[in-house]
Amino acid sequence: MTQPVPVIDTGPISRLRRGRFRMTPLTPLARREARWGLLFLSPWILGFLAFTLLPLIATFGFTFVNLTLNQKEPLAFVGLANYQRMFADQQVWESLGVTLRFAALVLPISLIVPFAVALAINSRHLRGSRFFRVLFFLPYVVPFVAGLLIWQQVLGVGGWINEGLRFLGVADPPEWIHDPAWIHPALVIVGIWGIGAGIIINLAGLRGIPTELYDAARIDGADALGTLRHITIPMMSPIIFYSLVLGVVEVFQYFLAPLVLLNGTGEPNGQTLFFNLHLYNTFFLFQEMSYGATLAWLLFGVILVVTLVLFRTSRRWVYYAGER
């Protein structure tokens, strides 16, 4: 991706800004640079050709045939029949809707919470930050399914969340996992256990901000909020952008928690029929490989569009100190 032009008033950052867009033909020097670049990329290029490209093409090929595990009808080219079926499949649109609604809830939380915790851990006001770092990281290590089993109990009948709410005077706390209105918040709570990764990424980003910037800000008389707005957030914007893009990918591919907690049925009341769960069921449970692959390519297209939009807008708010 090319030149970001920070429009945010970055104050002291502008002093560090550098690099201009150069539109020169490849000089021998530039050719050398390109060769080095491709050399460094070669592990990925090799892996892409060996293990990624073929599966991508194969699954794309699946979408034009009638492949099923049982293969009752002989394998045949069916043109766009799978796509026609997809556009008529009501569950496709319902499940996309469910996924989008969940994304609207979970994405902001999964960006803000780890960032805020990392800021707190990074703060000089916090005593014993080393313990907090380790302890906030701890649940991230718990295997996902084992973690789900714990949360099923914590959120369930007699679990401490509802016992706690009753203690606080809530007479009739929700049946989290089985209540259509509460299942999404419940899944968010379960997901919060994995913020260890987000905290680390944010801590690494905070660590990388040169202290001079804060010195300069102080000399300029900026208060804490101003520093956050004008230094921390702009300097962290590449990391925030990373979290946002991968958050989008993750939320569109979300399915394991509802598969384990609710047998992949989409209950309560269709609220957990996420797109990728519908896809997983189609592919593995109903053994319809071709149709499943078609759904997967729809998902690919949706994520691609969202990501491209994010990359476009990123030029306006992501600041890369080291890019040319």
Binding site: L26, G156, G158, T265
Partner: protein, 476 residues
């Protein structure tokens, strides 16, 4: 210029890709076209032993305590002959279907799959080898099994896909101490016997009687039962009754045998007895409170790590014989009783287990030899391991003698009930194949999940919605 490099890389990529695609796409189609193999190929001349893969666990068999025995059985067969070596692959149940699908679709299917029930076979329809020619060729004696058991695995056009291995009848499991505490008679152990109330009333042992009993055996924290004034359904500590809620078809089959498919095989028709069962289940949870709701049955206090009866907090439960693996957790005072009747008729749903051979096996003769080894030489060992009742009648007494010795079981369990229950097996079996098997099961699970978690539903509307949804799946 600047594009030259890109172009070169792109061309390289395309060439590599085409080369790769040709290389791999040709090979998968080589896999044997199995389905038409009515005549088994002549067995290969003695050469290197074939490597056979025994795929577990679409049912029982994954428990870490079971695996060493299974490995030993595989090794024993390998050492006993020159056709092949058998190796067991343990894939935990939760991932077993996805893994098996992947292996089959990638042309890397296993040779033997099992133990697997009728439902497991049905969910991989079209994958199984018809054993008929191998049975004929080796002279394997099917006459040692009851004919009905053999017919169970004769699945239409797919042929004889399995040989009877194990059967699991179902009955009532109950806690004697809870009846003692309430001052009630135990449920009858003999089919046809009546139930006697403390006031001397003798009534038919049917689901109405069960309900009346279960209400007395459902107790809240303060010790009040569900028939008393002031009973608090929010603080129940002991439940009166638990049906078999895994599968709505199975749940229904305790009330009467049936199939979702009408006689034409393409119309969805929900048996009247199943509808009665589902309504009984629903009202038992939400109206009368003698059956756990879904959220309660999921909680650690009541789940029993699998079946609520194992928690020791359920007075009566319907379930299959295979629950012997965990029932010791329920305490030392449980016993078995007869299944109650519905409309004057008794039905004991039957689970069956067998082993299947995948149709793409490269060494069908060796695989069949290994299969017969599991059914004969190794059968006593494996049956014991799986807590499975032998399909061969003459082995059953010995099985119960060993079962009764199980550590942690009460001294005086009435195992005769199991044998009697087998006489009331459901015909047709509730797991028998129906169209769109996997979608159908998934839809049933969806409705079950909804019913156990949602109060205030109109069950007639629900059942009709389920029927319509299934019909739409079958028609598509």
């Amino acid at each position: 210029m600047r594009t030259r490099m890109t172009t070169r890389v792109a061309w390289l990529a395309i060439v590599a890709l085409i080369a790769g695609a040709c290389g791999t796409s040709a090979s998968p189609s080589v896999s044997p076209g199995g389905s038409a193999a009515s005549q088994p190929p002549v067995s290969a001349a003695p050469g290197p032993k074939a490597l056979l893969r025994w795929y577990c666990c679409l049912g029982t068999g994954e428990d870490p305590t079971q695996v060493p025995t299974e490995e030993k059985v595989a090794a024993d067969w390998s050492a006993s002959q020159d056709l092949g070596d058998l190796k067991i692959e343990i894939v935990t149940y939760d991932a077993a279907r996805a893994t098996l699908s992947t292996q089959i679709a990638s042309g890397n299917s296993p040779d033997i799959v099992g133990p697997v029930g009728l439902g497991g076979l049905a969910s991989f329809e079209g994958q199984w080898l018809d054993l008929t020619p191998y049975i004929a060729k080796t002279g394997f004696d099917l006459g040692q099994f009851p004919d009905e058991a053999v017919q169970t695995f004769n699945v239409g056009a797919q042929g004889q896909v399995g040989i009877p291995f194990a059967i699991y009848p179902s009955m009532v499991w109950y806690k004697r101490d809870m009846f003692d505490e309430a001052g009630l008679e135990y449920p009858p152990h003999e089919y046809g016997a009546t139930y006697k109330w403390p006031d001397g009333r003798e009534v038919e042992w049917n689901y109405d009687t069960v309900k009346e009993l279960a209400l007395k055996l459902t107790v809240d924290e303060s010790g009040k039962d569900a028939t008393e004034a002031g009973f608090d359904p929010e603080s129940i500590v002991q439940y009166g009754f638990e049906p078999q809620r895994d599968d709505l078809r199975g749940l229904g089959a305790y009330w009467g045998p049936g199939s979702l498919a009408a006689a034409d095989g393409t119309t969805v028709e929900i048996p009247a007895a199943w509808q009665d069962a589902w309504k009984y289940f629903y009202d038992g949870m939400w109206k009368d409170h003698f059956i756990m709701t879904g959220p309660v049955a999921e909680s650690e206090d009541f789940s029993g790590g699998g079946y609520t009866f194992f928690s020791g907090r359920v007075a009566m439960s319907l379930n299959f014989l295979w629950t012997t693996y965990g029932v010791a957790d329920a305490g030392t005072d449980w016993d078995l009783a007869a299944i109650p009747s519905h409309n004057g008729k008794v039905t004991s749903p039957l689970n069956t287990d067998t082993f299947g051979i995948h149709k793409d096996t490269k060494s069908p003769d060796a695989a069949f030899d290994a299969l017969t080894y599991l059914h004969e030489e190794a059968s006593d060992t494996l049956l014991q391991l799986y807590g499975a009742m032998p399909a061969r009648p003459e082995r059953q007494d010995a099985f119960f003698e060993t079962l009764a010795q199980t550590e942690g079981f009460p001294d005086e369990v009435d195992w005769q009930v199991v044998k009697d229950s087998a006489q009331y097996a459901d015909k047709p079996n509730f797991e028998a194949p129906v169209p769109k098997y996997n979608e159908t099961i998934n839809t049933l699970v969806k409705y079950r999940t909804k019913w156990v978690a949602t109060p205030g539903l109109n069950m007639d509307t629900e059942i009709e919605a389920l029927r319509a949804e299934l019909q739409a799946i079958w028609d598509s």
